[in-house]
Symmetry: C2
Amino acid sequence: MSMQTKYLLEENQMPRFWYNIQADLPKPAPAVLHPGTLQPVGPDDLAPLFPMALIMQEVSMEREIEIPEPVRDVFRLWRPAPMFRAHRLEKALGTPAKIYYKYEGVSPAGSHKPNTAVPQAFYNKEAGVKRITTETGAGQWGSSMAFAGSLFGLQVEVFQVRVSYDQKPYRRALMETYGARCVASPSNETVYGRAVLAENPNHPGSLGIAISEAVELAVQRDDTKYALGSVLNHVLLHQTIIGQEAMEQMQMADDWPDVVVGCCGGGSNFAGIAFPFMGHGLRGGKKSRFVAVEPAACPSLTRGKYAYDFGDTGRMTPLTKMHTLGSQFTPPGFHAGGLRYHGMSPLVSHCKELGLIEAVAYNQVECFEAAVLFARNEGIVPAPESSHAIRGAVVEALRCKREGKSETILFNLSGHGHFDMMAYQKYFAGEMSDALYDEAELAKSLAGLPNVPETA
Amino acid sequence: MSMQTKYLLEENQMPRFWYNIQADLPKPAPAVLHPGTLQPVGPDDLAPLFPMALIMQEVSMEREIEIPEPVRDVFRLWRPAPMFRAHRLEKALGTPAKIYYKYEGVSPAGSHKPNTAVPQAFYNKEAGVKRITTETGAGQWGSSMAFAGSLFGLQVEVFQVRVSYDQKPYRRALMETYGARCVASPSNETVYGRAVLAENPNHPGSLGIAISEAVELAVQRDDTKYALGSVLNHVLLHQTIIGQEAMEQMQMADDWPDVVVGCCGGGSNFAGIAFPFMGHGLRGGKKSRFVAVEPAACPSLTRGKYAYDFGDTGRMTPLTKMHTLGSQFTPPGFHAGGLRYHGMSPLVSHCKELGLIEAVAYNQVECFEAAVLFARNEGIVPAPESSHAIRGAVVEALRCKREGKSETILFNLSGHGHFDMMAYQKYFAGEMSDALYDEAELAKSLAGLPNVPETA
């Protein structure tokens, strides 16, 4: 028997449309509110931040939204992405379950992030934008936006959380290789950055602060817009190409997932693989379970409150209803930097409230265990973020073993770990522990959520 | 016009045979000699080091050698590898030339090295071998062998040059993730290593020393064999899958290369892309030019002597006729560690002597310039080794521009640079200079070549 089964689509099978889950949900997601008026925001309110094409995608109820040809053209560099059957992992676990994984680490930036960076660059370029500001933690998103910007001739300015800027110079070098400018946040380049630095000149920064800085600059300048790498509806929409492809590949395999697993930080890679299958079920097709795996150190879905909150620490963004740990919450440091955000995407949160998805949280050491097991059996070294999905899939596979069930499990391997070998080094040296958040700090942060009447 | 043209083979178009250039060369390559007797070595002389299947490949004159199905099965994880037309790079250079590149960075180790690590692991496993010893510099080869060993259940022990072991812990972590044991060389685990350390306890190590250590252990133990990642005939043979695929892809593109370019250290990735096209020409098909690009800091083909020499510093290996800087030569430190070897593959050297290939040498700064130009236009960040091939292709493309010729250029992009961002960081910080070797040291090293009579 083959130990490596790859399901690869032809180039002309690459999806021509993104799938919009909003068309199929039994109930629309709560409105986005203006933080001042608490009234629903309209497209014009978002115009200083995003080009209109992306705003229209943000609010669209159309089921299918066409992927522009120049975007598909860039996607050809690495898409369609492969799906594999993990025969060796199944054998190692002794499970009767069938495990498949979709692999998004084949992109030039090594993760799924270019799936949305490329269309965001395209629509901004079309709208005459000259410069994109954005934020990044460890740098997956920043390097993806830098990559996309270089291909469409856009200047990209990345506010990188200072602690990552100082400690992880490699992804910064990657951003610079793509021609982007990288600034440590908090910085002296914004009013908000200067205010944070005035209070604490050695502030280590956070994603929430970096967002505030990037947003501030975009609002100020006519030729500049802002880009976000997760959370928003249009970002999740762009990632559905993952699941759209996986659906075709599952048909090639003559199989269909009983359970779909993804790691979940802002929610975009999880939604990317889950939403197309979820829509299939909502429209009367075979129903799957959907398991969002988040880090126990930053558990918005499993421990957060479903409430209106800001997307940034500086409280500049609109209010969205989501599972949140509070915009003033600072998650502890852990290696899956891409999952280190206080809020969950409003659409994923809404699906959780509707009972369409399940959520679990795992600690980082057990996730690295799963990652090493995976690497030694399947040959690919996963990103720390993706290791959460692997852990989730392994837990499901072992449940199948206990229950004697031959279920089909599909998970999204969102990126490779070649930039994260420092974390593996710590794991092997026995220097990795589970990062814990402070319960009192979480309670305080949740108590400080903005006061939005139920009727809003 | 599409800015990204990918030529992707179907899985069932993956080559079933490796191509052996020895079948088509107008003159056989000089024999490999026993260092004691100066007589040609027979298969039995090599049996302590390699399983017989690989030894038979080393000396085979058959044109086609079948790729075992379990090897092709593992290859499916990333092969067939894509070939791209570099439209954006062509435009940036303003050249009438057509530039294509074959991309080998899609493997789990990020380079072409698994193309030979996997069959080497397979044949050793078949022969009942339990443990593989090998050497590595920066770690591309060691991590590839570790990857292959993990899939076939072989214990892999890697002697890593101490200076890389200390300064570049990431690829070491990658080897450990795949379950390999990594030892800093010179080590206390071998007679030769102890002798080197006795003379200099702080010896930084070299590839030649690490080879001596790995060979020593393999010879000592019955259950242990040795693996080499380049130079040898069977290694080059395994890499011809690159060129075999590229020939099919060139046919898909309805084109054929006027010139094929590869970076050249030990010679395996260059031979991998060049030999199948070269054989096509030797058998009466369209002839291409072949340009081997080596680092100016370690220029065996352009500045070495074509002579019999040892493959290692400890003078334990058989003698092979090759372009060599002398086995006692220590190349200066530079970022393309994979090209930092005193000798050139005997087969590539032989082709050079036959006038079948050309060789050029470039400095590292001009290669990084080419790499950054490539990354910003084509989206893939190249390994420092591969940047030499890009430089070579750019030079050819600019010649075409001067001459007004629309030639077809094909180069091998042997790996991605995600493990090498430190080098890019130095480049952008202006801290990179061209590494120069000491002319006096080279002269001394060449004067010390073993004395082998012309008649041998």
